[in-house]
Amino acid sequence: MSAQTAGTASATPPRQGGVRSLWRLRSYMRPYGSSLVIMATTAVTGVFVSISIPLVTKAMIDGPIADKEAGPILPLGLLALALGVVEAALILIRRWVQARAVLGFETAVRDDLYRHMQDLPMAFHGHWQSGQLLSRITVDLSALRRFMGFGMLFLVINIIQLTVVTALLLKMYWPLGLVVAVSAIPIILLSRRFEQKYVVVSRQVQDQQGDVATAVEEAAVGFRSIKSFGRRPHMEEKFGRHTKTLYDTSLEKVRLSSRFWTFLEVIPNISLVIVLLLGALAVGREDISPGTLVAFIILMLQLIWPIEALGFILAMAQEAMTASDRVLDIFDTESTVQGGDRELERPRGHLMFEHVDFHFPDSDCLVLRDVNLDVAPGETIAIVGATGSGKTVLTSLVPRLYDVTAGRVTIDDVDVRELTLPSLRTVVATAFEEPTLFSMSARENITFGRPDASDSDIAAAIETAQAGFVHELPWGLDTRIGEQGMSLSGGQRQRLALARAVLARPRILVLDDTLSALDVHTEALVETALRRVLADATGIVVAHRASTVLLADKVALLQDGTITHVGDHHELLATVATYRDLLAGDADEESLAAEGRGALR
């Protein structure tokens, strides 16, 4: 997983908060206030030390060497040595302090981001690709860390160094000082212009890298479909196009930066030529001493880095501001699913839907309308409906993965929105049709909702879900599964997800077409075991097949987002045509069945 993959365009346009966003993150730096002071002090002191070394050199050349007096050589030399040692020591201190502070900052923001993202509802997560969230906790936080630890500090230091050295140079010999000062102007101006262009091209490159990564991902995941249809040439052609675009833009970026970097180097060199010329002439006229000229040249060379760096420090600052905008996008998204403050002391599991409407946040089209349903404690209801009739959405309203847009869902006559989220989600557990397994041990995947489950509870849940295959994995329950571990078949995954739901021992158990990937034999075993679990709990079973429906005490028929019939399976089969259509075989199948019966007779 590369950061580039994630670096594609953000879902919301960046706000132009810039400096203000950055400022808002200051509280994360607060624990490191003293570190910041140390960093700044050592850095500024370092600047003065590094400036003073050439001055010692000047004293050496103009003093003992010019005057032919051996005495001061050693003291001056030792002074230079001492200053050198101090400079190194200051850098050491600054870097060590800085490492702790900026990494602490980065980690704290990342932990909080993660916490906040976990709190945000499914409506948010359905809208954001995980790659975009990932780029916020990686790329953006690195940009922030770089700026906090390096950019911000050097922005100040470099400006100090520039001012002090330029002042010093002007004082030493003002015509030369002026040359140096003037040469800085085109650099600073051009840096700005370059940076603006560069930001545009870099972003293009980043987007196009994202496109290439998307194409790579698509081809990797869809490999079997591509193979099946023999569409390799098509995919290669498409990929080739993306890479060519990336190539062209990258070359443009190279062209731009090669020109700029060359320019950055050539300006100080040309001013060196001018300084040498004018300086030597000045020495010839005895306006300045040879020592001054040497010190001047050394000091001037010390200016190159701070000037060059200004450009990319500004770019870094820009990046950091965008990054903080993007980070705050997340922090500023408030969770629309807020828990209430009530707890269910001893939940009975009486579930009711009252005039429930639902639509997704980004569309006005009602997925559910006026749904009414009453499930008595301990009762199990099957939800039957055509593809896209809203069954899964209906079940996700109970644990408040989504919130109703009208009406209410109640448990034991309490609106689910009045319950605390932990309390609500202890009462309800869901086994999803497309189970999500995590790259963790099988045990951790099963105890997902109940980390403190005992071994015998785990064994019982595995038994119920017919997931005994986990014992046969190379390291048994400790085997890592998921993308980074052992891969499991669809049926195995479903059974693990079922074990997970069963282990949570909910009052209300939701089975969202959990058995679709099982073969007939396993399905029968699972159903027998589930019957026991569902005997105590309230159950909602989304079903496509008659055999699953038979787990339930009654059936609700969902049509076009509303419940049209509730009743007993056989009753509905006999009286409701649509229901028969959904669950029974068609005429031909029935004739086959009749044939079969005939044959048996």
């Binding site: 997983m1 993959t5 070394i53 050349i61 060497i65 001056l76 040595l81 050198g84 400079e87 850098i91 050491l92 870097r95 060590w96 990494l103 602490g104 976990q118 499914m122 997560h125 969230l133 990564a213 790579v216 990797a220 490999f223 479909s225 193979k227 249809f229 023999g230 390799r232 990929f239 890479t243 190539y247 990258s250 190279v254 062209r255 060359t262 050539v266 040498l276 020495v283 010839g284 020592g291 040249i297 050394i298 060379l301 993965l401 999803f432 999500t436 995590f438 790259s439 041990s441 099988a442 890592r480 599964i481 891969s487 997970r500 099982l518 038979l550 075989g585 031909d588 086959l592 079969g596």
Partner: protein, 608 residues
């Protein structure tokens, strides 16, 4: 509650995603070969590049020397009243040197950039195309995550090396050696004193190199864990919230994040020792040179100009050290990446394309499995010895428990794998002798894995037949019963299925995949659990469509549900790779005591 690594569980060593313990500067042979292959087309430019870099560095190194000349030889004539002619000459030469350096530098950066990008372009295309050529067997063992990281992070690592690594290293090495030589030429004694720092630098750099390699590896490992945990949490958010997993997740995340922080802190502190270390050695050297140089100058053994040149050269001398040490990290990850990529590129497809294919322009669909045996791993035979004749146009259904070998059989017919023994023929031609293009036109397999590509619904259906007209696309969707839901989508056939099918339900995705296969119009259609996500009415529509679609083509249908199987002309019940029952549905049911009739009875009972 522990937040130790227990939660991660145990997994088999997966060396390929880790950094090697030791990196030598010598690449493995296959990596060298790959690099050679990639660079070969740019040979001429590479030579120009070398020339440019040599000239550039010569020009760069001449600058302090010319400054010395200016001070020592340019100033005295002026002081003596002989005018500034010498100084002017020197300054002019300096100006030329500076300009030459600028021009060659620009030239170098452009050429290096072009080569780098060119290498990347061909590497990307080559790896992409190779992955696509490799057989499904390879992809079964190599997760898509790994395929993706080969083509993203590994390629990025090589890019990094090309973009910054080589430039930095070449410049650094040339500067160091050039400077050393010049110092000795300028003044042997002072030069030798200055170069005393060499052993120290060497030791410091070597220490840093080994330590930072370890630290760097650790940061890579720890950040990978952070990323995996993060991405899985975000993609599995539904389960996370439904199971109140947030607390435990937060604990785990903070613990892995802290591991990452500590690894990073260690890496930062190493740099925090190394950089000031270099500075210290540099400053001490400058101090010593200053004292000794002043002493020599005092005795008129060196000039002020030489002393100035020394101080300027020494500045240049120490800066590249940092580049050199950073080059190691870049090189390390690039060489690891190169090794992995060259490994992949040397994989041969286990189902190779025939050298001289037999043309099969218009397949009829007669299949023959001629004593086919197959095993994925040696000694674990999945299909022992299968003999099966499927006449063109027949619809064959495979029934049996998980692991009976049904899917394997289907994969063999689709030539995702080749038989270990025996042969499969289509219209009498061995599958291994049919070109990929002809074979894929003749045989199409639809599985449960209904992958939707980025693009519109129409694009996705058209994937089966790129040149299909809109009418044909709509026709296919109608035939399969997908038309109604598609037109109900916000933009109908032009609706973007972004985010891998986003809002389409599993059943709807399956219908699109069906329409795709129908549009492709193959002579042999294989349906492996292809209707499992459909509800009964949709399934019925598909079946009704299948009745017409399958009349003039061969079909192999695998399904758990009997309703799907029931349209078959012939049913095979399989167990442990063997065919245990074979006959028409009616025959098998009326036989009354077989496995199929048992299954059938159970099914009939559930409908009653």
């Amino acid at each position: 509650m522990t937040t130790t690594n227990d939660w991660r569980g145990v997994a088999a060593e997966n060396r390929d995603d880790e950094m090697p313990d030791k990196v030598s500067l010598v690449l493995k042979e296959r990596s060298r070969r790959l690099l050679g292959d990639l660079l070969r087309p740019h040979k001429t430019i590479l030579i120009w590049l070398m020339v440019a870099v040599l000239i550039e560095n010569a020009a760069r190194l001449s600058v302090p020397y010319l400054v010395k000349e200016g001070i020592d030889n340019g100033i005295p004539p002026i002081l003596a009243g002989d005018g500034s002619k010498t100084l002017m000459t020197i300054v002019a030469i300096l100006l030329v040197a500076v300009l030459v350096q600028a021009v060659t530098r620009q030239f170098f950066l452009m050429l290096a950039g072009r080569i780098g990008q060119g290498v990347l372009l061909s590497l990307r295309r080559r790896v992409f195309s190779h992955f696509q050529k490799l057989s499904p067997a390879f992809h079964d063992g190599y997760t898509s995550g790994r395929v993706i990281s080969r083509q993203t992070s590994d390629v990025d690592a090589i890019y990094e090396l090309l973009e910054t690594g080589f430039d930095g290293l070449i410049t650094a090495v040339l500067t160091m050696f050039g400077t050393a030589v010049l110092l000795l030429v300028l003044d042997l004694k002072l030069g030798l004193v200055a170069l005393l720092c060499f052993p120290l630098l060497y030791l410091l750099t070597r220490w840093f190199r080994t330590e930072s390699a370890k630290a760097y590896r650790r940061t890579r490992e720890t950040v990978a864990v952070v990323i995996v945990h993060f991405v899985e949490t975000m993609t599995g958010m539904r389960a996370v919230q439904a199971f109140r997993r947030e607390r435990r997740n937060q604990d785990i995340f903070e613990s892995v994040d802290d591991d990452y922080r500590r690894a990073n802190e260690r890496a930062f502190r190493l740099v925090g020792l190394f950089m000031p270390g270099i500075k210290l050695i540099g400053n001490i050297t400058i101090g010593v040179v200053l004292i000794y140089g002043a002493h020599l100058a005092f005795n008129n053994e060196v000039t002020v100009g030489v002393l100035a040149a020394f101080l300027l050269y020494l500045r240049q001398f120490f800066d590249p050290m940092q580049e050199i040490s950073q080059f190691y990290n870049t090189f390390q990850s690039a060489s690891a990446a190169l090794e992995k990529l060259s490994g992949v590129l040397e994989e041969d497809p286990s189902v190779p394309e025939p050298q001289t294919p037999i043309a099969l322009p218009e397949a009829h669909g007669a299949l023959h499995l001629d004593h086919v045996s197959f095993s994925y791993v040696e000694d674990r035979v999945v299909l022992p010895d299968l003999e099966l004749e499927v006449p063109a146009g027949m619809t064959l259904a495979l029934v049996g428990t998980t692991g009976a070998g049904k899917t394997t059989l289907a994969k063999l017919v689709a030539r995702f794998y080749d038989p270990t023994d025996g042969r499969i023929t289509l219209d009498g031609i061995d599958l291994r002798e049919i070109s990929e293009q002809d074979l894929r036109t003749a045989v199409v397999m639809v599985t449960q894995e209904n992958f939707l590509f980025n693009g519109t619904v129409a694009d996705n259906i058209r994937f089966g037949k790129p040149d299909a007209t809109v009418e044909q696309v709509v026709g296919a969707a109608k035939a399969i019963g997908a038309h109604d839901f598609i037109v109900a989508l916000p933009e109908g056939y032009e609706t973007d299925v972004a985010n891998r099918g986003g809002r389409l339900s599993a059943g709807q995705r399956q219908l699109v995949a069906f329409a795709r296969a129908f549009l492709a119009d193959p002579a042999v259609l294989i349906l492996d659990e292809a209707t499992s996500s459909l509800d009964v009415p949709s399934e019925r529509l598909v079946q009704r469509a299948l009745r017409t679609i399958l009349t003039d083509r061969t079909a192999i249908i695998i399904a758990h549900r009997l309703s799907t199987v029931e349209i078959a002309d012939r049913i095979l019940v399989m167990e442990h790779g063997l065919i245990v029952e074979d006959g028409s549905p009616a025959d098998l049911v009326s036989a009354g005591d077989g496995r199929f009739s048992d299954l059938h009875d159970a099914w009939v009972a559930s409908l009653a």
